[in-house]
Symmetry: D2
Subunit: 160 residues, 4 copies
């Protein structure tokens, strides 16, 4: 997960994350739009031969990122953020805005493990820190933490 | 908005808020469950003769707060949080957990004015502070701030 | 429930239905758009002093019918059809297109009583006929049938 | 698409349909539950080496069919039926109950091509017959009709 409107540095981080998710044989799932963290992580995973699923908020796929393998069309606007987190085994959140924060919150509400990559959510999420919520210093650290969460790495694992 | 699992002090705050919303002739809208901030604010508004709308996450109304005038049954789980904020003219958030944070985030994502009553969201929401996001020291302060947002206080105004 | 694109005769039927729902002291709930059966039934109920709730598919209320008392903003497109039927005690369906048929189907799927006013759904819904699904010859007949379904006519009853 | 509670004959039809979808190199998408048409079509596609996506109504994957490659967890109940049809390039509907009818209706509402396999929807859907809605006499006929709809058979094609 992560913002649609982010700078080049965050996009590079997301691309690297996507690449490493694919290299582990995991499936990347994100919001599927053709911008920011979604486009960059999809591109990184796709280039490394991985599988990418995008959960689109629109009622058609016209704004989908080009590197999706599967575009799920919801037509439900931001309500699709719930699907993003419920479908993911682990949520890795790159920097973003309020949309990303809503995904972090919905994930924690539903008992999902959340790893913040390259930022910190501060006081609002203090109750979850060290439990469901941790921070990672780089993509490899994020994936190492994610791996501890997944008892059986395998076909259905979908870090988002 | 606010938590389902909160202490007596927060419930008292929510009840007072509900009462004052009703006294202004505004409609109270919340998540409609029979617990915490939702039950308490509904009770406060109802006692003061106000109108209360609850947006329920379940597929029936069996867990609805007793003081709802209108129970909207969504059957969509936490996806109903989006409806809570899109339907509200202003979102007043009492303390809560990750569910409340998701509502704050979804509201800001959709350009809604959010007033935090009795807590502070910290660094995660820093970009919105002083703009869409402010804090209030008590219910009356929250409503005074809400009123500035509403050009036409009237029938359809639904602070949540 | 009923179509957004219907002729003058169906609109007159919907208006009459709305009026009679209000006269019974029931709440009218529909899809809330400013066209067809939604606009006409809202107008009929509003004129007769009734309460009208509209469940909007858009992310704002700009296309809402003028006679709504409460506009619920979902931003979830046609997914809001599920909310329409789950929230209603009884679904009365005027003629419409595929959207109305989806509401009839979702209502029956969820065990709701459905009354078709002025049309017949034919073979597809044969299994439900005489049970959950009946037809009515006019608005008064529809409401008489609806009343049998409602053990306690009251504040929360929301025929849609 | 198709019913969760159907007889052995319909399950055999669905299995054959899934097998042939996979043999064409298309992706099968359905509601993902471990029963009826969903389980049978997934099994048929999986055995033939195809890819299967299930859009689950629950908030977890505990009731998912065993032959899914990707389980999308929505937690939105029957509202996920909208996702099923918006995501599909063509909807092929096996016999089912009201849930299947809601998918047929939502698909037609959104301008999707619908092919009824082994049944007829009757008068309710008469307006769409011969246009968006046709019937097929067997799985091969359904797929031949589906193929005419798809200008570019390819990676993203997801008959449901």
């Amino acid at each position: 997960m992560g913002g649609a409107n982010v700078g080049a540095e965050v996009c590079a981080l997301a691309r690297e994350l996507g690449k490493r998710i694919a290299e582990r044989g995991w499936v990347l799932l994100n919001g599927g739009r053709d911008s920011g963290v979604m486009r960059a992580s999809a591109a990184g995973a796709h280039e490394a031969g991985g599988t990418v699923i995008g959960i689109l908020l629109d009622a058609d796929a016209s704004r989908a990122a080009p590197d999706l393998d599967y575009a799920i069309v919801t037509g439900m606007g931001d309500a699709r953020n719930l699907i993003n987190v419920l479908t993911s085994d682990v949520v890795i959140a790159c920097p973003g805005g309020a949309g990303t924060l809503s995904e972090v919150a919905l994930a924690l509400k539903n008992g999902k493990r959340v790893i913040l990559l390259g930022w910190d959510a501060g006081a609002a999420f203090e109750d979850f820190r060290g439990g469901l919520l941790t921070t990672a210093k780089d993509p490899e650290d994020a994936l190492a933490q994610a791996k501890e969460t997944l008892p059986r790495a395998g076909h259905h694992s979908q870090p988002g």
